[in-house]
């Protein structure tokens, strides 16, 4: 960054009244984002927040940057087009588990494989908030909601696994209540050139309160969370005494001590897609702790940079100023007098 005066959190707060329910996890995410942004940019006019429809998708109204609250599920398409038009913008996409994975699932997976340099924040509250409480593609099977009074039948997506299946180049997970961690993930996403996918567990205290309680309760959470650090072994627990061991091809949770030593524990490598896949499978499982942090991160050329390169390449030699006339007069022509 240059020597311009640093912006402050308040610079990223818009003048619009915030209309989420009191107690909603969205507030925390907004606050952390506003807090982090001064570290991300010194020109807020170059930042654009694009969203779909849902409680979470109201987010852009509250950021004092450019913002586009589009239509349900389609934010990735607008964000991609924006990035094509102006690759220099810093584009952030805010979506929900319904917006991004139900109606918008296709645009999401295609955005991930194309690898535009766009940062995705998916607020996963495992419910449709805005439409007042139907189950979502991340709701647990058997969920009782207005649309499923006897319990839902669909098997849920694991968003990080779907993202990896769609060839995402950066996949991370964090939690609304983990303020510092959330900030760190936002910074990491920003650093990553390519599509960054951050799943954020978010409490909807109105329609799905406590969905992530076991991951946020002070007393229990360290037994449940597998905090990922690149180059560090996959250990967890209040006493940091448990770890992930690979038994043949099969991961297992083991206790570090007599039988297994710390050296037997798998070491996290963000660039290893086999590890990324394995960690994504841990999501919401009985057997394994819940991984938070960067599951996978490996850069490859972004769509926008490839496109810029092609545009440059195509313009070598030919002058575009003469282009139109050249084209108009191409092919066989003849004069009528």
């Amino acid at each position: 960054m240059s020597d311009k005066p640093l912006l402050k959190k308040a610079d990223f707060q818009s003048d619009q009244a915030i209309r989420w329910c009191p107690g909603c996890g969205d507030y925390a995410i907004l606050a952390q984002t506003q807090k982090t942004f001064p570290q991300i940019t010194e020109d807020k006019e170059n930042t654009v927040f694009v969203s779909g429809i849902g409680c979470s998708s109201r987010f852009p109204y509250y950021m004092n940057t450019y913002g586009f609250h589009t239509i349900h599920g389609r934010a990735p398409t607008i964000a991609s087009g924006l990035k094509i038009a102006n690759p220099d913008l810093s584009v952030w996409l805010v979506t929900g588990d319904g917006d991004g994975l139900s109606i918008g699932g296709n645009h999401m997976i295609h955005l991930l494989r194309r690898n535009f340099d766009i940062n995705i924040m998916l607020f996963n509250n495992r419910i449709y908030g805005l439409t007042k409480g139907q189950y979502s593609p991340t709701s647990e099977q058997g969920k009782v909601t207005y649309s499923t009074p006897m319990g839902s039948l669909d098997y849920p997506f694991k968003p990080t696994k779907l993202a990896l299946g769609a060839e995402a180049s950066f996949v991370a997970k964090t939690i609304d209540k983990e303020l510092k961690h959330l900030q760190a993930m936002i910074l990491r996403a920003n650093e990553h050139k390519g599509t960054s996918f951050i799943e954020i567990y978010q409490n909807c205290n109105i329609f799905n309160d406590g969905a992530f309680a076991k991951l946020t309760d002070r007393d229990t959470k360290e037994e449940q969370l597998l905090r990922l650090e690149h180059g560090k072994p996959l250990i967890f627990g209040i006493e940091k005494d448990k770890g992930i061991y690979l038994d043949g091809t099969t991961p297992k949770v083991v206790k570090i001590g007599d039988e297994y030593s710390i050296d037997d524990i798998v070491v996290h490598d963000e660039e290893d897609r086999f590890i990324g896949d394995m960690l994504a499978n841990f999501t919401e499982s009985e057997e394994f702790p819940e991984p938070v942090g960067v599951l996978y991160c490996k850069e490859r050329p972004t769509y926008d940079s490839l496109m810029s390169a092609q545009m440059d390449e195509s313009q070598k030699g030919s002058k575009s100023s003469k282009g139109l006339n050249e084209l108009l007069n191409a092919g066989d022509t003849w004069e009528v007098k």
């Binding site: 239509i71 398409t77 087009g81 022509t333």
Partner: protein, 617 residues
């Protein structure tokens, strides 16, 4: 060597080349077209492709055809019933014979009439043997495969490749009959197959073989001359609607100093727009093949939001998918051009055939009060001007614009005076300038004249603001649920579009300024209606033709024009969609002439209907 042929002069000729998809009929047609253009004829062409990628050789499903209408007068349609039918195999004969003018000329590749091919086409007996054709047509059975084989003796090419040159042989025959030079075709072959001299050689030999055969054999006794047409002076080229559309878009961005972003998803018959633009990266054009049509329009809108002019194109089913996004473009008031290359519907319908049946969808097919300009191209070359205007209005009024084209327009072609972009309407595009004051930027403040809001693009200092699909507060653009504001915004959006009518040029009336019948058309029926009108005028009937370019809003002077005629006839390739709109708008009891057959209307049908109306009413 050459026999002495009679020479006759004709005003108008229509030739249809028909053969198997692999027979190269589009190429023969294209070369005949080019040569006729250079000779100064006016002309109009229409290719017809099979729906299958590669239907089995020799099958009816695999027949491909190309029709050219050329003339020493100004013409406006690719012709109805051909005077000459070239049939390269039994299936082509079977599929097209019914259209040939009684007494017309039939040129047949005799060698293709094998038992197998006859069976594939469903012939019980060989029509080139059973005498069924000679009574009704001037039928010529030429052993084209044999001719080219003989001609190409000594050329080191696979027999299959040599056989393929028979389309040039057929072309040679026609060049002789219509007294056209071979050089332009030979030049073209030399250029096209520069690196394959054997191919050039074989094709040139085949061309000469056909020409010489016609010159020598006793079967053709007359040569026909179709003189130069008196066309407006200028530099001409031949153009089809796809290319014209793309050039129109490019001209628009060059004149306005904008950049162009095209985002779409392949669909017949719109895909070629994507293909053509994809080749123009060197002119700064960005193209993006999206995952579906929704993503296509979304990306185009995103590009427009970012300050590039976003364009998308599709056909019926794909346009259906874009409806929700059009609403967003309307409420966020961003420029966007959506091109609908109409094809036969409903649903997948007749994907390779032309139709005008998406007019309702264009004008009415959105939820809520969602007014949007709709412009229609009338000829292949007119796609250029239409696309240009669509872009200009989109930017000037900050609105999505729907441009209607169709299968006939994009694939059909006509001679076209190469336009000078400087002659087009001015096209200024300006982004809102950065704001270094402390005042909040007001994204929904409007230009008083156009009612357009400013185009404030991300990256501009001091204009940070939020837009979206929820109703916006007047001036500030904030989310707003108030009754009065909503009504006001609904009205402003409607007024903004209605106002466009004020800048439209006076509507051109071709023919009598008042009288018995006005033929009113929109889109690609223009040419047919104009031909029909010319014919009616030549019989001294009190008729006129008006071709409508802007369907939404309609021109202000149309009401008065309509009132000058006793009757109004609206020919359309649908069941009467424009008629419905005209009736609603002007309470005029317009009469419909409606054919929904996946192909252009015929001028004679219109002439007949017009006379019926004039006589009856």
């Amino acid at each position: 060597m050459s026999k002495k042929a009679k020479i006759e002069t004709l005003d108008n000729v229509t030739i249809r080349f028909a053969g198997d998809s692999g027979d190269g009929m589009q190429l023969s047609g294209g070369r005949f077209t080019q040569t006729s253009a250079i000779m100064g004829n006016d002309l109009s062409t229409l290719p017809d492709f099979p729906a299958e990628i590669r239907a089995p050789a020799g099958s009816l499903a695999g027949v491909s055809s190309f029709q050219i209408h050329f003339s020493s007068q100004e013409i406006h349609t690719p012709g109805e019933n051909p005077d000459v039918l070239v049939a390269m195999n039994p299936a082509a004969l079977k599929a097209h014979l019914k259209d040939l003018t009684p007494g017309g000329t039939l040129i047949i590749n005799k060698n293709a009439f094998t038992t197998k091919n006859l069976k594939l086409a469903g012939y019980e007996s060989d029509p080139t043997e059973d005498g069924s054709l000679e009574d009704y047509y001037s039928a010529h059975f030429i052993e084209m495969s044999k001719l080219v084989n003989l001609a190409c003796e000594g050329i080191d090419l696979a027999p299959k490749l040599i056989d393929r040159t028979k389309n040039l042989c057929a072309l040679g025959v026609l060049f002789w009959i219509y007294d056209r030079p071979l050089e332009p075709t030979i030049d073209w072959l030399n250029k096209k197959f520069k690196s394959k001299p054997d191919i050039v050689d074989a094709n040139v030999k085949a061309l000469h073989a056909g020409y010489n055969y016609a010159d020598t054999a006793e079967i053709f006794t007359t040569k026909y001359i179709v003189n130069k047409a008196k066309l407006p002076a200028g530099k001409y080229r031949n153009i089809n609607g796809t290319l014209a559309t793309c050039l129109g878009l490019l001209t628009a961005v060059e004149k306005s100093n904008l950049s162009l972003t095209f985002a779409g998803y392949p669909i017949t018959p719109a895909s070629n727009i994507l293909h053509t633009l994809a080749n123009w990266k060197r002119f700064g054009v960005k193209t993006y093949q999206a995952e579906d049509e929704i993503a296509g329009i979304g990306a185009a809108l995103g590009a427009s939001y970012g300050g590039s002019l976003g364009v998308t194109a599709s056909s019926g089913p794909g346009i259906a998918l874009k409806g929700e996004f059009l609403g967003l473009a309307i409420i966020t008031e961003l420029p966007l051009v959506v091109i609908n290359v109409q094809r036969g519907g409903p649903s997948t319908g007749l994907p390779t055939k032309t139709e005008q049946s998406d007019l309702f969808q264009a004008v009415y097919g959105r939820n809520g009060e969602a007014p949007m300009p709709v412009i229609a191209a009338s000829t292949p070359g007119d796609c250029y001007y239409t696309a240009y205007e669509a872009c200009r209005i989109a930017v000037k009024y900050m609105t999505p614009v729907m441009m209607l084209s169709d299968g006939y327009l994009v694939n059909g072609s006509e001679p076209w005076i190469i336009p000078n972009p400087d002659d087009l309407n001015d096209f200024d595009a300006e982004f809102v300038k950065e704001n270094l004051t402390d005042e909040q930027y007001l994204p929904y403040k409007r230009n008083e004249e156009t009612l357009a809001r400013g185009w404030a693009i991300p990256g501009t200092k001091g204009l940070e603001h939020r837009i979206g699909g929820i109703e916006k507060q007047d001036v500030t653009g904030n989310v707003n649920y108030d009754s009065d504001n909503h009504e006001k915004m609904v009205q402003i959006r409607a007024r903004k579009i209605a106002n466009i009518a004020n800048e439209l040029p006076p509507t051109e009336v071709f023919g009598k300024k008042e009288g018995d019948l006005l033929i009113l058309s929109w889109g690609s029926t223009h040419g047919t209606c104009k031909s029909a009108t010319e014919s009616l005028l030549s019989e001294n009937l009190k008729v006129a033709h008006v071709s409508i370019r802007w369907i939404s809003p309609l021109p202000n002077d149309l009401k008065d024009i309509l009132s000058n005629y006793k009757n109004v006839l609206i020919p359309e390739i649908n069941t009467g969609q424009f008629r419905q709109i005209i009736r609603a708008e002007f309470l005029v009891d317009a009469i419909g002439l409606n054919e929904v057959q996946g192909k252009p209307l015929g001028a004679s049908t219109i002439v007949a209907k017009a006379k019926e109306i004039i006589n009856e009413r």
